[in-house]
């Protein structure tokens, strides 16, 4: 439904968004994930026609945003919850939106009830809102015109845990009813529970995309094992000789290799293993690795994203690590 096609946005010589392509499909929640400054907001602003693209194109349902008549009725946008006149009440802000979109004023009350802003809160001026309340108001504004597509930039920012859970439910059911949702976040755990698909962006470039399973599968090169033996030092030496990265971890070792490899190394060196298990690879590790400032280009064992317009997924590889492994292996951070 949303097609981003080789989008580049440059500020001078700096490319905030660099040749980004992806697709958000109907009936699905797409998570747009990346650290601060990765280019998420810029990409979404181009979607809503607020920032011009340097090259490339974004279409929504085949149309440029500016070609959609009364776009609020088709695309709900929340880019910056604070970007409203602070002197207007929450109700007034929604009333202005409803008036412009040609909606009955009853719609304002419906939306206020939906996002859980009480009458008293809705009649307060927005400059007195907490960030969470602004976020709720922004979500209400995005949903006002009953759109088919939702574009939400960091909507969970400032929401309390109950609010985040509420939003998850809201977006999930919205997508189940056939809506298209794109939501961005710099926090993995905000997104991974609801996103059917994830787009990982770092330094303006897409570093991986696909659903959780295929992302993890694609990251098998980063698989780790946790091992304990009677002679960790000798084992570490053996593994290092075989070209694996070894880190001491607690009473054992963490090895960047599948368990089978570690077992073979121990056998060859004649070392008795006392514990050997897969350290798995968490999405968080993957996320950090792919988007970290020092991310080496070769480090992504994830194949490059498939061409746009295609189903977005990373092809499965023969020896998949278990996908039900813990998301954050012990000491998973480097």
């Amino acid at each position: 439904m949303i097609t981003v096609d080789h989008l580049t946005k440059a500020y001078g010589s700096f490319r905030a968004v660099d040749d980004v392509s992806f697709v958000c499909r109907q009936g699905r929640v797409t998570g747009f994930l990346g650290p601060n400054g990765a280019g998420k907001t810029t990409t979404m602003r181009v979607m809503a026609g607020l920032t011009g693209a340097t090259s490339g194109r974004v279409t929504i349902g085949g149309l440029d945003y500016s070609a959609i008549p009364n776009p609020g009725r088709h695309v709900g946008v929340l880019l910056d919850a604070s970007a409203q006149h602070g002197g207007r009440t929450g109700r007034e802000i929604l009333t202005l939106g409803a008036l412009a979109m040609g909606l009955p004023s009853a719609r304002v009350d419906e939306m206020l009830a939906l996002v859980g802003l009480s009458d008293v809160e809705a009649s307060r001026r927005m400059r007195n809102y907490s960030l969470g309340m602004k976020q709720r108001l922004g979500i209400a504004h995005a949903l006002l015109g009953d759109p088919e597509v939702l574009i939400l930039d960091e909507p969970a920012n400032g929401l309390d845990p109950a609010g985040i859970r509420w939003m998850r439910g809201l977006l999930k059911s919205y997508a189940d009813r056939g809506g298209t949702v794109l939501l961005s976040s710099h926090l993995l755990n905000e997104v991974e529970l609801i996103a059917d698909e994830m787009i990982l962006i770092g330094h303006g470039r897409i570093v991986a995309q696909g659903d959780k399973k295929s992302l993890l599968a694609g990251a098998q090169g980063a698989a780790t094992s946790l091992v304990m033996s009677l002679d960790n030092t000798a084992l570490a030496t053996e593994l290092a000789q075989r070209g694996h990265l070894v880190d001491p971890l607690g009473d054992g070792l963490k090895v960047n290799a599948p368990t089978e490899e570690v077992g073979r190394a121990a056998l060859a060196a004649g070392i008795v293993l006392t514990d050997l298990r897969t350290g798995g690879v968490g999405l968080e590790d993957l996320f950090l690795e792919l988007t970290s400032g020092t991310a080496r280009d070769g480090a992504g064992a994830v194949p490059p994203p498939p061409p746009p317009g295609h189903g977005v997924h990373v092809p499965p590889t023969p020896n998949m690590p278990p996908v039900d492994s813990p998301l954050t292996p012990p000491g998973g951070h480097r």
Partner: protein, 267 residues
Amino acid sequence: MTAAAPTLDVSGTQPIPFWRLVLVEFRKSYDTRAGFWLLFTIGLLISLLQVVFLISFLVQDFVYATFTDFTGNVWLVSLVLVPMLPILLVTTEWSQRSAVVTFAIEPKRVRVILAKLAVAVLLALAAVVLMFVVAAVCTAFADLVKPDFTEWRVETEFLFLGAPLTVLTTTVFGFAVACLLLNTPAAIVLFLLSWYASVGVFAAIAALIPAFADLLPWITLQVNVLLLADGLPSGGEEWGNLLVSLVLWIGLPIGVGLWRILNAEVK
């Protein structure tokens, strides 16, 4: 909705009609504290100044009052007060960053800006009407109390042409400055400076460089606008003076401002 249709069906959706954008912008002109008090102050000053004149007329002996006397000072005040409306209406979208939402709702930005101009024009006309209604009431009251000293001398040229035209011109001038700067205090300062100070500055320059004096009628907006109060320009040269100064002070800033509004990133 089916998953197989990745296109938006917009066939049943009408674009936002212009009158609705005007309605929205009109609502924005009074739904904030600053906007409301500005409107209130303009209305109050337009009425109050005339009432003050009425009282001073009533308590003084042997002075005459005509209908036009009531509007004279108020008109001059309106010339700089009413333009604050478009300045506020345009610049707050940027200072409060609500432009992000405004232009997401109507991505054809020029329509939003035109709607703001339409609201400013309508409010300016309303201010002129208010001015004359209050003047009529005051004259009627004066006529009642001191009929011998009151005169209903109405200059129709000023009433129907001069007053509306001048107030409208300065309002559009304010709008132009606002579009150019997109910043409330800067726009107010530049508006007042160019309205009040430019004539003096130009005259000073002309005193130093005599050749510049010939240029004066072509570039002083204030003089040309005030001349409008007595009716449309009479000759070709006067028309030229007016049009050139309008292009210089209004056309140019609107052009530059609009180009920027239409092309700049909305943050």
